[in-house]
């Protein structure tokens, strides 16, 4: 039955698109825009227009229907408002930095698309929050406060409390504070892990690219073998063993996890830095330096590395996202960052059952999504920036 409706809808849209193109052609006197428009494109325009109209209609629907909250409409409104707010913030952020700062940064922000500006803004905000978490957070991350299960929103009528704007969890810890400390723990640990992975993978990769020969063969084959096991699976296996080593000292598990993920991830870094290194090694200026009689240290640090910063920085962003998501997933599965440290993955898991109350108490369902959203927001931001960097560097080559 649904299928029938869908087919009917598609057919109606088909007609509308045809009329749209026809009208467009006659109204503009067969302008090239309408004249050379394929039917599929006309159909696409109509579909987009329909979706836009439907979105507006849905947004304007009442939130409350005879005392029953319309959760769907509320979530939709929040999403739209959030989207517009972030876009506006990014726009203002970019505007400010186009006019403030050194010539270099001004120029950088002028060539920046809005998505990348959004990413930069997010990264700065997260860095700020995670560094100053202790000062910003209203309560401690392990502090158990008076009441448990206070609803987010701060509205006493709906079971909230203005002192805990995002509510408290099942054992009465402030969710906002835990989110803020989560930034410190989750982001901090992911950052350290990525740095470690880059240190290991990057130096070995460059060494392999510069020296070549048996060392390159040995390292490359070893990396091939390690990469044949999916990263998350391998991490889970190793963490099983690590927990046996750690015994009851749960903080050790976190330390082991950092090393395990760093090593697994360093294989990917190795691949990239070796490839980047190989591209640079064949350059004539490296040959000139070799023929001059320069040593290995000078070759790697003075000639090669300065030319590898751009691709390595982009890769650092991607690797960070990957590590960050892996750690979040592990925590979500219960084997990553160990309690009592506040951590977003663990928070999502602990709060997940609140989702089921969404239909009659939309505010309640927000709590787990906030933590998951915090993870997504940072990776989205980093990915936007990396996407822009990659686009820029590929554009320069053309």
């Amino acid at each position: 039955m649904t299928l029938l409706y869908l087919a009917l809808f598609a057919a109606v849209l088909f007609g509308v698109a045809y009329v749209f193109r026809l009208v467009g052609r006659s109204a503009t006197g067969n302008a090239p825009f309408f004249r050379d428009m394929p039917f599929g494109v006309a159909y696409g325009y109509m579909l987009a227009a329909f979706l836009l109209l439907f979105g507006i209609y849905y947004y304007l629907k009442p939130v409350d229907l005879e005392g029953v909250p319309q959760a769907g409409v509320m979530f939709f409104r929040w999403a739209v408002q959030g989207f517009i707010m972030f876009a506006a913030a990014a726009f203002v952020f970019r505007l400010i930095f186009r006019n403030v700062g050194t010539e270099g940064t001004k120029k950088l922000f002028r060539s920046m698309p809005l998505t990348a500006a959004f990413g930069v803004m997010i990264i700065i905000a997260y860095a700020f929050v995670s560094i100053f978490a202790g000062l910003i957070a209203p309560y401690g991350q392990e502090e158990i406060l008076g009441a448990a299960n206070i609803v987010p929103g701060g509205n006493p009528a709906m079971g909230g409390n203005p002192e805990y704007p995002l509510g408290t969890d099942q054992i009465g810890r402030d969710i906002l504070s835990r989110l803020i400390y989560g930034a410190q723990n989750t982001v901090g640990i992911a950052f350290v892990t990525t740095c470690l992975a880059f240190f290991i993978g990057g130096s070995l990769g460059f060494l392999a690219a510069t020296l070549g020969g048996w060392l390159d063969q040995l390292l490359s084959r070893a990396v091939d073998a390690l990469m044949a096991i999916p990263a998350l699976i391998f991490a889970l296996l190793l963490i099983t063993i690590a927990t046996a080593w750690a015994g009851s000292a749960s903080w050790q598990v976190t330390i082991y996890m950092i090393f395990i993920i760093a090593i697994i991830d360093s294989t990917r870094v190795f691949r990239l830095s070796r490839a980047v290194g190989l591209n640079i090694v064949v350059m004539d200026y490296i040959e000139a330096a070799k023929l001059r009689g320069e040593g290995l240290g000078y070759l790697v640090f003075r000639e090669m590395l300065p030319n590898a910063y751009a691709p390595l920085l982009a890769e650092f962003g991607l690797r960070f996202c990957f590590v960050f998501l892996t750690i979040a997933s592990l925590s979500f599965l219960g084997v990553g960052i160990q309690p009592p440290l506040a951590d977003w993955g663990t928070m999502v898991r602990d709060l997940s059952q609140f989702i089921n109350f969404a239909a009659f108490a939309p505010n309640v369902a927000v709590a787990p999504l906030l933590a998951a959203g915090a993870i997504a927001l940072l990776t989205v931001g980093v990915n936007f920036v990396v996407d822009w960097m990659l686009h820029k560097s590929s554009g320069l080559k053309e």
Partner: protein, 548 residues
């Protein structure tokens, strides 16, 4: 004369970069009558190819026609609908691209790509068009015309592919063909065959053509009239003979003048003197395949030895053996009578200093992250041990020598320099080691003619001042003529012939040297005709078979 076949008026084209539209072509006019061939020439960045494509009503991504008209047989291609343009493209206007290897679809056989146009435009059916294709292959003197079309592009050599593409362009018997540097990627001896066959077939079918190239001598053979372009502007247009004999504009005159630079001959070597560099019976291999066979020659003090050959002849490999990057399998290298360690890693600083290199691609020869001062300063510090002020003074002196203002260029990055300036920095870096011997590996082939001439003059001046010896690797015989004292001709890793330049350029010589020398196009519009007459058409066919 009635309306011309192609009439371009006030053509302006813009390209997109950094989010804005910048002009590429600033208003060009062009008329082309039926059966006429116009040559578009200019240096890189002149906008030749852009105009070529625009005459088909086509622009690449990020490029647009902002103003003007391109009227082909009454139809303005700028405003025509996509469908109307498609009906003309391939049928009445055809295109021959620079790289045939990349422009044939690797997934289909040549003949299937050939017949596609005629079948799509309902000019003929597949069987007829296939027969016609074979006939065209025959006329273009491709070997095994019946069979070659049934191969895939990667199974056919570059020169043959270029002719197959010309055949494909001819498939619908168009009124106009655009040739976009069709022979630039080919070796000189292959180029002749392709040029001759393209010219014949254009004449036979009375096709109009736009022939785009940067090589004056080539355009002199192909075109009825020539249009000279500079940075998107027309410099002048005239019929070929007038243009070659009496160019009116200074820019054109300077282009023509490049061909006349030739340094005076030096006295021949004193017999018995020790050469600066001796290559002694060198045989070298990549992996297990020998690429050099028993190569020997000497380079004496203050002289330039040009090593000439087509791609794959082993010129650059010889240079790698001399510098020690590729230790020879047999034989050895002597510097001033002393045998060098074969591997560069076992040579000491002083030995390394003796032989310096200047590279073909100035872009990859300079570290893009180092300033000019750092690039030149490093060998000064490394070899001569100079630091601080002394080092700075030496770098400034070197910059003076290569005719660049020290204060202006010291802190610049390579990306802020032009191609010719970069090449000069490469020279300065080599000079900084105070060597006696420099290997110049195709140093001018990536540069425009005027710039290249400047580099050659600079190298000649430095040689006179400092008594340097050069090993000059090149495939361009005009360069050989202008700068060398001795010539070594190589083919397939073997030295075919060597001797004083004067001897090399006067017959009799080895048949390969003969072929190589006679294949270099000259500015005389009758040169190709004369050459073909001399060789006889069949000879060219044989050469083609020989190259397979």
């Amino acid at each position: 004369m009635s309306e011309p076949l192609l009439k371009v008026r006030g053509l302006k084209i813009e390209g997109r970069s950094d989010e804005t539209w910048n002009p590429i072509i600033n208003g060009v006019d062009m008329d082309l009558n039926k059966g006429e061939v116009i040559g578009l020439i200019g240096e890189s960045g002149a906008g030749k190819s852009t105009i070529g494509l625009a005459s088909m009503g086509f622009t690449r991504d990020g490029v647009r026609i902002s103003e003007g008209s391109v009227v082909f047989d009454g139809v303005d291609l700028v405003t025509a609908s996509a469908a109307d343009k498609r009906a003309l493209l391939g049928k009445r206007i055809a295109y021959v691209a620079q790289s045939a290897a990349a422009s044939f679809n690797p997934a289909h056989k040549l003949i299937d790509q050939h017949t596609e146009g005629p079948v799509q435009h309902s000019v003929s059916n597949k069987a007829e068009s296939q027969e016609d294709g074979i006939e065209l292959y025959r006329r273009l003197r491709l070997p095994n015309p019946e069979e070659i079309g049934f191969r895939y592009p990667h199974q056919v050599s570059g020169g043959q592919l270029q002719r197959a593409m010309t055949a494909m362009a001819m498939a619908c018997r168009p009124d106009l063909i655009i040739f976009d540097e069709p022979t630039t990627a080919l070796d000189v001896t292959t180029q002749i065959e392709v040029l001759a066959s393209i010219r014949d077939i254009v004449e036979q079918f009375d096709t109009a053509a736009i022939y785009i190239t940067h090589d004056l001598a080539v355009v002199a053979q192909m075109a009825d009239k020539i249009k000279v372009l500079l940075k998107g502007d027309e410099v002048e247009e005239a019929d070929t003979r007038t243009m070659l004999a009496n160019p009116t504009q200074d820019y054109t005159k300077s282009l023509w003048a490049v061909r006349s630079f030739e340094r005076p001959a030096k006295p021949s070597v004193v017999t018995g003197s020790t050469p600066i560099v001796s290559v002694k019976n060198v045989t070298a291999a990549y992996g297990t395949v020998d690429v050099l066979h028993d190569v020997s020659f000497d380079i004496h003090a203050g002289r330039t030895v040009a090593v000439v050959g087509e791609s794959g002849s082993g010129k650059s490999t010889t240079a790698r053996c001399i510098t020690g990057l590729l230790p020879p399998r047999k034989g050895y290298i002597e510097f001033e009578g002393v045998q060098m360690p074969l591997d560069y890693r076992r040579r000491d600083k002083n030995q390394l200093r003796q032989a310096q290199m200047i590279y073909q691609m100035a872009d990859t020869a300079l570290n893009p992250r180092k300033t000019i001062g750092e690039t030149i300063g490093r060998p000064v510090e490394f070899y001569l041990g100079l630091k601080g002020k002394e080092k700075r003074a030496k770098v400034d002196a070197l910059l003076d020598e290569i005719e660049l203002e020290p204060t202006e260029y010291f802190n610049r990055l390579p990306s802020e320099l032009s191609g010719g300036q970069k090449q000069r920095i490469g020279i300065a870096r080599a000079l900084a080691a105070e060597p006696k011997f420099i290997i110049c590996d195709e140093v001018t082939s990536a540069l425009d003619q005027l710039v290249a001439e400047g580099i050659l003059k600079l190298l000649a001046k430095l040689q006179d001042q400092l008594g340097l010896s050069y090993m000059f690797i090149t495939h361009d015989l005009a360069t050989v003529k202008s700068i060398s004292d001795e010539v070594v001709v190589m083919k397939d890793g073997v030295v075919v012939e060597q001797g004083e330049k004067a001897d090399m350029f006067t017959p009799p010589h080895h048949p390969y040297t003969d072929l190589l020398l006679s294949s270099v196009p000259e500015m005389d519009p009758d040169w190709l005709d004369n050459l073909l007459e001399q060789r006889g058409v069949d000879n060219i066919g044989d050469a083609a078979v020989d190259k397979m």
